[in-house]
Subunit: 137 residues, 6 copies
């Protein structure tokens, strides 16, 4: 039974500030540079959501892409699009909104929501030149 | 002996209809929505073909990319480009032409044709926002 | 009063056959080659819709992009997405569905629908390697 | 004497809020929707700066691209990258930071700074799906 | 009679050295920096060739894209692909191989070869971040 | 402790000639075709450098992207950008400069330089249509 991975790409944009409230302002500035700007900055993010499984004979699908898109929009995109990661996103509460922490936070929300289908990879692009990947491990 | 993976990207376009002849028209419409249009629709597909192996000392190649391209064009691209997946593609006979089934069908044709080189991954993009991967398992 | 051009990019896919019913089958095959396949083929199209005008002081907009997107989706995208250009698209009746004729057909539909805003350019990509532009002249 | 146009592409990201302080909160929300979020949002912007002129015989250049890049970075990119368009950008003072107003603001800064070379077009992408163009008219 | 512009994108790669033999080595190094490396460097170039005209009723084409591609390959691509612009390209003899001079050289070759169709624009990308345009004026 | 992979994309261009000095000119021409041109050719390369590890609580980073970029620029990009792979790049001495050998050479330079962070993947694009991957095995 072939195991195929299918990926849906989605887009959103958001503001954030890379800032650790446990550090002084000087330490934050020295550690995070212009990403620590107190007036915020922002990005267009690209998110690739991958699900792996057997191909269902009745449909030829691993998962219906419309259904997958619906889950990701409801659980993640609607909470972050045109939002501020530091102030408005419930699943980012208490962590610094770096791309690494965002992708882990999204995994924790999406993995149970997509079940019984099996989420196997998230890729999150912050700019055209950097991205992170997480597979739940 | 380093094992390197080399990938050649190729392009084609085709028409298809996501349709299961074992279902009624109503079930097909409910299951596949606008992808079930009886008048067909189509896509520009992008195919990434990856071969993994040691780097041959005489050439510095894992596989000659011109030779790889020739095999993929002969075995796959020439059979699907400007074609109808439901009506005209021998290796898709009897399966619903979803991206999942197309990538598995292409693997079954390409894996033996590329031997003794080792095909290790196919990635097939159907639109800029969705793609499938298959590694033969 | 600065005149700025703003563009919204939209996507759709469709099937077509490049075929002139006034020609014989042999002439069609000789003229259009594999694009004349009677079983259809298809593409992912990209459409850039450009509107030019002064920047409204109250909004900072030439035109509200949400409103522009709504017009283009209603007048064009909903009529062509996952459709067959030869069989199902009213504004293509009686012309060969080449990219040239499609872009002119879309102009004729969109130009009055966008008024009083001024449509100034359509760009339509058929594949990553070819596109057409039309400015109404 | 051939007149050639040469373009340098640059990147930056920033936060903003589409908001007109002359309107009530209700009017702002109704007019600008989620782009009016008081907690900001942001984008990765792409800027194409075009200069037109004869090809200098001694260098084969219309303008030295390194020099052009230096001017654009000093006059524009350094003032907006990782910044907030509403709060921190001098040339945006008193206008709503829509893409239309940003591109006109950048033109007013860049046109004199690039002289005697002739700036002929700015293109500013806000997302992969919308962009504005301005040629100084 | 609508006038439509159709564009075919083609790719090639080549080596070059930005060097003016009328200058001293010191002047060349000071003027052209690392682009003057005597051991050469190179690029993947992207060329967009645009033809404008009425849409022919019999075909729905401004120009047959296969014919256009054939002309551009024979007249330009075959002479520059995997070649050295300074040493091997006849139409670049006696000029510095900057992107500006290359696009003008290509125009002079292509404009008569494409006639009676009307070449209206060439765009040549040297890297993902810089490109030139020429329209014959 | 989640293990996240973070990737930084960098760009360079270079000249090369695919040539094995142990072979005759005839064998080289027969084996490597136009890639063997004695006058060189070149490419715009894209390099993706991936580091995997736990997310540091103090910073939210796997590795500071500015520090990673600095290492890759110093160890690799500055040695290859606008250079000739056959003549000028120390870590390519004695091997044919195919993409496969370049990616292995870069791994050998980068893996110790990035430690104690863990380099887990390099992807090197030579053209928009072919790329290699190496993970140190």
């Amino acid at each position: 039974m072939p195991q195929v991975t299918i990926t849906r790409r989605l887009y959103f944009n958001a503001a954030h500030r890379v800032h650790n409230p446990a550090l002084s302002d000087e330490e934050n500035a020295a550690t995070f540079g212009k990403c620590n700007n107190p007036n915020w900055h922002g990005h267009n993010y690209t998110l690739d959501v991958s699900v792996t499984g057997p191909v269902e004979e009745r449909t030829g699908y691993v998962i219906d892409l419309g259904r997958l898109k619906g889950i990701v929009e409801r659980e993640v995109i609607d909470k972050v699009d045109h939002r501020n990661f530091n102030l408005e996103v419930d699943f980012m509460h208490g962590v610094i909104p770096t791309t690494e922490n965002i992708v882990v936070g999204m995994w924790r929300v999406l993995e149970p929501a997509i079940r019984p289908a099996r989420l196997t990879r998230l890729v999150l692009w912050e700019t055209p030149n950097n991205y992170v990947e997480y597979d739940g491990k």
